[in-house]
Symmetry: C2
Subunit: 217 residues, 2 copies
Amino acid sequence: MSADPAPGTPVRAPRGRRAAGVRRPVYDATSLLAVAVGEFNARGYDATSMEDLSRAAGITKSSFYHHVSGKEDLLRAALQRALDGLFAILDERHATVGRPVDRLRYIVRRQVEVLQAELPYVTLLLRLRGNTHTERWALDRRRAFDGVVGDLVREAVDAGQMRADVDPAVAARLLSGTVNSIAEWYRPDRPDGRAQERTALPEDVVRAVFEGFLPRE
Amino acid sequence: MSADPAPGTPVRAPRGRRAAGVRRPVYDATSLLAVAVGEFNARGYDATSMEDLSRAAGITKSSFYHHVSGKEDLLRAALQRALDGLFAILDERHATVGRPVDRLRYIVRRQVEVLQAELPYVTLLLRLRGNTHTERWALDRRRAFDGVVGDLVREAVDAGQMRADVDPAVAARLLSGTVNSIAEWYRPDRPDGRAQERTALPEDVVRAVFEGFLPRE
DNA sequence: GTCTATAATCAGATAGAC
DNA sequence: GTCTATCTGATTATAGAC
């Protein structure tokens, strides 16, 4: 911030001064990624321009480019984070040992938890259309994850631990679809006193999916 | 490419000749809508240009504009069709009389059937972000539909016809999410002999959602 | 009804001053 | 690190010939 403009300089407010009390955060690549992902999710990746992103960050497009290398790299970084979170589940102990149906139950619960914890990043992942190389890479990785879950469903059905009168392939799709659909409505920041809903949701999903919505008898 | 126009074919200038045997269909607004919706779903609405649409139809952009008034009007027409299909369900007899849980079961089954029958149009509806006035209008209508279903879930829970240990609001979201997620994988044109899957799917969904994936005892 | 040509605008990205 | 100014190409849409 320059102290005073030279005489004759158009009297502009000192560059970068903001409304009283509104301090611009000090950005780095990570915090700008968070801003960008928020915008991507609000408008859709393709409908969001670099201008939109920089405006959301409170700087110009050029300044934004000083921090990030481009729109698609932002996307890649966000999708990497989502995929890392999901694949980490598959390495956890309860996902690798035990009856297939119990491993499946565990993975579903953890999938909901990761979705809650990394909501914007997972949301972005779930909305990909596959237009660019980056999107197709992420879709492939996501399909690989679903493939592991799908195999587990088949195992559980074969072992008689899940109902056999629904095609295992269809069951796996419905299972993934149910979990993923949460990204379309779950919002962690409830202003009212519903904070505990967060911890209840994974168990609610597991119950609903495995036991159904009809009352226990 | 093509040697001669077939007899009776209007003799058009050589421009726009097509590969041998590839006859361009006679387009009207409806058939171009079908083409457009297919492209919208493949790439996303925002990522699809009018150039993409006209190329998919086999005519130039200008010719395409001769038939349709613009990109957003195509979207509106498609969404109208999807919404009409869904709202029609709510007027059917089994959706209006009987126990709440039975009406709900019926609506879910019919929702899957409409999704199958109007797949591209419903798919487009389910992917809206709300960027334009048209999109927000459709989202509002869609929320109204979900609201009716949500009220019915609450009624069923209050009547003891659905389990009460899952928040009715969450149950309604999961229910809608499960049904809607079908649009992301169901494809009516299976080349193999799986044609009957179409009639099985609605019942599979109803069973899975209401009874769960665990085996019957 | 289809075409070529083009207008008007906006996109992602960069140069270079400060 | 941020800015103004600009480049290049794509986008929606139209004009007007055939």
